[in-house]
C-alpha cells in the first residue's frame, strides 16, 4: 500500500517534470523562432519594464510586435547574400 503510493507519487512527479521540461523546450523553441525573424522575447521586455521603469506603461503584445517590426524593417535590414 505504502510502496504503491510512493511509486505513484514518483511517477506523477516524473510526469509533471517531463511536462515542465517539454513546456520549457517549447518555450525556448518558440523564442528562437521568433528571434530568427527579429521579434524578441515579450516576457523579457515586460520583466525589464517592471523592474526598471515600474511607473511607465508597457506596450501590449500586439504593439510590441509592431514596434519590433518597425525596428527591424523600418530602415530596411541588411540581408545576407
Amino acid at each position: 500500500m505504502k510502496r504503491g503510493s510512493t511509486l505513484r507519487r514518483s511517477l506523477s512527479e516524473s510526469v509533471s517534470r517531463l511536462g515542465f521540461e517539454a513546456a520549457n523546450g517549447l518555450r525556448i523553441l518558440r523564442r528562437t523562432a521568433h528571434l530568427m525573424c527579429g521579434v524578441g522575447d515579450y516576457d523579457s521586455y515586460l520583466e525589464h519594464q517592471r523592474g526598471v521603469h515600474p511607473e511607465a506603461p508597457c506596450l501590449d503584445y500586439a504593439a510590441f510586435i509592431r514596434q519590433r517590426q518597425d525596428a527591424r524593417y523600418g530602415r530596411g535590414s541588411a540581408r545576407c547574400c
Binding site: 528562437t32 524578441g40 523579457s44 521586455y45 509592431r66 518597425d70 530596411g76
Partner: protein
C-alpha cells in the same frame, strides 16, 4: 588521465579526417561516396572549432566574462536584451544564411569537387569564421556599433565614408545578381512562376491577418502561410498542365526582369507590416527548415559524387564562369568560405544581445561553420548529378545550342558523355519542358535536391514536386532579400540626397521616397536587364563581379580588425586576421586586374570592349546586338562593368592605405576600455 583520453580522441579525429581527404583527393574510379566529403568537412570543422577558435578566443581576443556586454549595460528590453546563447545562435545563423552559399559552390563545381571543397573548408576555418567571430567581438566591445561606424572610429571619418560608398555599390550588384538567379530559375517555367507569384498575395494576407485579425500571432500565421504556399505549389502543377494558364505564366527573361523591378519598387515603398515582414517570416522558416531537411536527406541517401575530383576547366576555359582557378574559384565560392556581408550582420543586432563575451565564440565562429556546411551540401548536391547533366544546366545557350541533340553533342565533346534522351528525360522528371542553360545555380541545386529528397520522401513520382519546392524555397528568400535590400539602399540614397536637398532627404517625404527607391531599382535593374539579354547568360558576368565585391568587403572587415589589434599592440596572434586579410586582398585585386586587363575578352571587360569597338569600326555586329545602337549598348555595358570593378579595387586599396595610416599616426583605439585589462 582524462587529458590523455582527449589527446587520443582528437588524434583519432585528425586521422579520420586525413583519411577522408586522402580518399577525396586520390580516388581513381567512377565515383566517390559523399560520405568522405561529409567526414572531411565535419572533422575539419571540429578541429577548427576546438583548437583554432579557442586560440583566437584566448590569445587574440582575451575574452573576459567580467567585461559587461552592451546587452547588460544598456538593457532596454527591446534592442539590448541579454539572450541565451542557443537562442541567439539561431537568430545569428538565420541572419547570415542566404542564397550565396547555395549558388557559389554549384558554379564552382565546374572545376570538380576537390578545389571547391578545399576552399570551402580551409577558407571557412581560417578566414570566414574568423571574420564573423572577431567582428562580433569588436562590436560587442563597442556598444554594438556597426561596421561602418567602427571603420569611421578606428580608421578615420573619410575611411568610413569610402566604406559606405563601397557597401552601397555591393548592394546594387548583390540585388542584381540575386534577381538574375530568380529570373533564370523562373524563365519558361509556368509551375515555378505561378508558385512564386502566389507568395505575394499569401504574404499580403499574412500581413493583414497579423495586423488586424490575430495581432502578434507569428507562429500561427506562419503555419497558415506555409499551408497556403504548399497549396500554391500543388496548384502550380495544375497551371503547368493546363495550356491557357500555362501560357499566362510562361514568361521570358525580359518580362520577368521587368516584373521583378516593379515588384522591388512597390515592396520597398509599401508599409513593412503589409508585405516585407510576413514574407520574411515565411522565408526564414522555410529556409531553415529546408536546410535541415537537405542535411537529413544527404546523410540518409549519401549520394555518390559523379563529378571528377578536378576537371579540365581549372585552366579557365569553363562554360559556367571564365577565368582560371586562381583567383576565380575563390571569388566564385564567396559566401560559403568567407562572406563580407556577415561583417554587417556580426555588427548589427547580434552584438546587442550577447549576454557574455565567451558566448561570441559559439555564435560568431560556430554559425559560420554551419553556413560553410550549407555550402558543402550545395556542392554535394551539384556534384552528385552526372557531369553531363550539370553542364547542360549551367552552360549558356550560346555555347551548347538550344536543342538536346546539340547540347548532348557539345557536352560529350568536352568529355562529359551524355545522350539527348537523358537530357530530355531529366527535364521530364522535374516537370519542365527543358533544363538546358538554366544557369544561376538554383535550378542545378533544385535538381540535386529533388533527387535526394525524392529518395527519402515520395519516390520518383514526387521529383517534380521537390524540384519546384526547391525553386520556391530559393526564390522566396531571394525575393525577401530584394525587398529588404532595396529598402536599405533607398535609405542610403536618401541620406545622400539629403546632402543635396534636405527636403528629398526627409524619409517622411513621399516624393523623396519614390525618387530614392526609383534610383535604387534603376541601379540594380540596369545590371539585371543587361545580364538577362547577355547571350552568355549574365551570371557569367555578374557573379564574378558580385564575388569580387563580397570578398572585398571581407577584406575590409579583416583589415579593420588587423588595424585594431595592431593598435592594441598584439604580437604574433595578429597573424590570425592579417593572413586572411592579405589573402583576400591578393585574390580580389588579382581578380579585379584580370577583369580589367586580361587579354582574353571572355574574362576582361576592357578586352571585350576593344573587340566591340573594332567591330563597330568595321560595321560588323556581335551577338546579341542586332543593330548599331545595340552595339553601342554593348560597349556601354563593358565600360560600366569595368568601372564598377575599378571602383571595388579602388575602395579596397583606399581602405588598406587608411589602415596603415591609422596605425602609423596612432588614431586612438575606440574601444572605450582604458580600464580593461586587455584592450581592443
Amino acid at each position: 588521465m582524462r587529458n590523455s583520453i582527449q589527446v587520443v580522441l582528437w588524434a583519432l579525429v585528425c586521422a579520420v579526417g586525413a583519411a577522408a581527404f586522402a580518399v577525396l583527393a586520390l580516388r581513381r574510379g567512377e565515383s566517390v561516396s559523399a560520405v568522405w566529403l561529409l567526414v572531411a568537412a565535419l572533422t575539419t570543422y571540429a578541429v577548427g572549432y576546438r583548437f583554432y577558435s579557442r586560440y583566437i578566443a584566448v590569445d587574440l581576443l582575451a575574452l573576459d566574462d567580467g567585461r559587461l556586454t552592451p546587452a547588460v549595460r544598456h538593457a532596454d528590453g527591446l534592442d539590448y536584451v541579454a539572450t541565451p546563447t542557443p537562442i541567439l545562435f539561431g537568430h545569428h545563423f538565420a541572419a547570415i544564411a542566404g542564397a550565396g552559399p547555395l549558388v557559389g559552390p554549384v558554379l564552382a563545381a565546374q572545376m570538380g569537387y576537390l578545389p571547391g571543397t578545399l576552399w570551402i573548408l580551409v577558407g571557412a576555418v581560417l578566414a570566414g569564421c574568423v571574420q564573423d567571430f572577431v567582428i562580433l567581438v569588436l562590436s560587442v566591445r563597442r556598444d554594438g556599433r556597426s561596421l561602418g561606424q567602427m571603420i569611421s572610429d578606428e580608421l578615420g571619418r573619410t575611411a568610413g565614408i569610402v566604406a559606405l560608398i563601397g557597401v552601397f555599390a555591393i548592394m546594387v550588384i548583390l540585388l542584381a545578381v540575386l534577381a538574375m538567379v530568380v529570373v533564370k530559375a523562373l524563365a519558361q517555367s509556368p509551375w515555378g512562376t505561378f508558385a512564386v507569384a502566389m507568395t505575394i498575395p499569401i504574404a499580403l494576407f499574412m500581413g493583414v491577418y497579423l495586423r488586424f485579425i490575430r495581432p502578434g500571432r507569428i507562429g500561427e500565421v506562419s503555419i497558415i502561410g506555409f499551408v497556403l504556399l504548399m497549396l500554391a505549389l500543388w496548384g502550380g502543377a495544375g497551371v503547368a498542365a493546363d495550356p491557357p494558364w500555362a501560357e499566362l505564366f510562361t514568361l521570358d527573361g525580359r518580362t520577368l526582369a521587368w516584373l521583378l523591378m516593379g515588384y522591388g519598387f512597390v515592396a520597398a515603398v509599401l508599409p513593412v507590416w503589409l508585405l516585407l515582414a510576413p514574407r520574411d517570416y515565411l522565408s526564414t522558416f522555410l529556409k531553415v527548415g529546408t536546410i535541415a531537411l537537405l542535411a537529413v536527406g544527404i546523410v540518409i541517401v549519401m549520394p555518390a559524387l559523379h563529378m571528377p575530383a578536378v576537371t579540365r576547366f581549372v585552366d579557365g576555359s569553363g562554360p559556367v564562369f571564365s577565368g582560371s582557378l586562381f583567383p576565380f574559384l575563390f571569388i566564385t565560392i564567396a559566401c560559403g568560405a568567407v562572406s563580407g556581408f556577415h561583417a554587417l550582420i556580426s555588427s548589427g543586432t547580434t552584438p546587442k544581445m550577447v549576454d557574455r563575451e565567451s558566448a561570441t565564440r559559439f555564435i560568431g565562429y560556430g554559425a559560420m561553420v554551419m553556413e560553410s556546411f550549407v555550402a558543402i551540401m550545395a556542392l554535394t548536391a551539384a556534384c552528385a548529378l552526372e557531369p553531363g547533366l550539370y553542364f547542360a544546366l549551367n552552360s549558356p545557350s550560346a555555347l551548347i545550342g538550344g536543342t538536346v541533340d546539340q547540347a548532348a553533342q557539345v557536352i560529350s565533346d568536352w568529355g562529359f558523355t551524355i545522350t539527348p534522351d537523358a537530357l530530355a528525360a531529366a527535364a521530364q522528371d522535374v516537370g519542365e519542358k527543358t533544363i538546358l542553360s538554366r544557369t544561376g545555380g538554383a535550378p542545378t541545386l533544385a535538381v540535386g535536391m529533388a533527387r535526394i529528397l525524392s529518395h527519402i520522401l515520395g519516390g520518383g513520382g514526387l521529383m517534380a514536386f521537390w524540384y519546384h519546392f526547391a525553386i520556391l524555397f530559393e526564390a522566396l528568400f531571394i525575393l525577401t532579400t530584394i525587398d529588404a535590400g532595396t529598402r536599405v539602399a533607398r535609405f542610403m540614397t536618401q541620406d545622400l540626397l539629403g546632402l543635396v536637398s534636405p527636403r528629398l532627404g526627409r524619409t517622411t517625404s513621399f516624393a523623396g521616397n519614390l525618387l530614392a527607391t526609383g534610383i535604387c531599382v534603376a541601379g540594380w535593374g540596369w545590371f539585371l536587364y543587361r545580364g538577362v539579354i547577355d547571350p552568355l547568360g549574365g551570371i557569367n558576368t555578374l557573379w564574378p563581379l558580385f564575388g569580387i565585391a563580397n570578398q572585398m568587403l571581407a577584406a575590409i572587415a579583416l583589415t579593420l580588425a588587423t588595424v585594431v589589434f595592431a593598435k592594441a599592440g598584439r604580437g604574433r596572434s595578429l597573424l590570425v586576421t592579417l593572413v586572411p586579410s592579405a589573402w583576400l586582398l591578393v585574390c580580389t585585386l588579382t581578380a579585379a586586374a584580370e577583369k580589367l586587363f586580361h587579354s582574353d575578352p571572355r574574362i576582361s571587360f576592357l578586352a571585350h570592349a576593344k573587340l566591340v569597338k573594332a567591330a563597330i569600326a568595321d560595321g560588323r555586329l556581335l551577338a546579341p546586338a542586332k543593330d548599331a545602337a545595340q552595339m553601342t549598348q554593348l560597349l556601354v555595358n563593358d565600360i560600366v562593368n569595368a568601372g564598377m570593378c575599378a571602383l571595388f579595387a579602388g575602395v579596397v586599396i583606399a581602405m588598406v592605405i587608411f589602415g596603415l595610416r591609422a596605425v602609423r599616426i596612432g588614431i586612438p583605439l575606440a574601444d572605450g576600455g582604458a580600464t580593461a585589462t586587455v584592450r581592443a
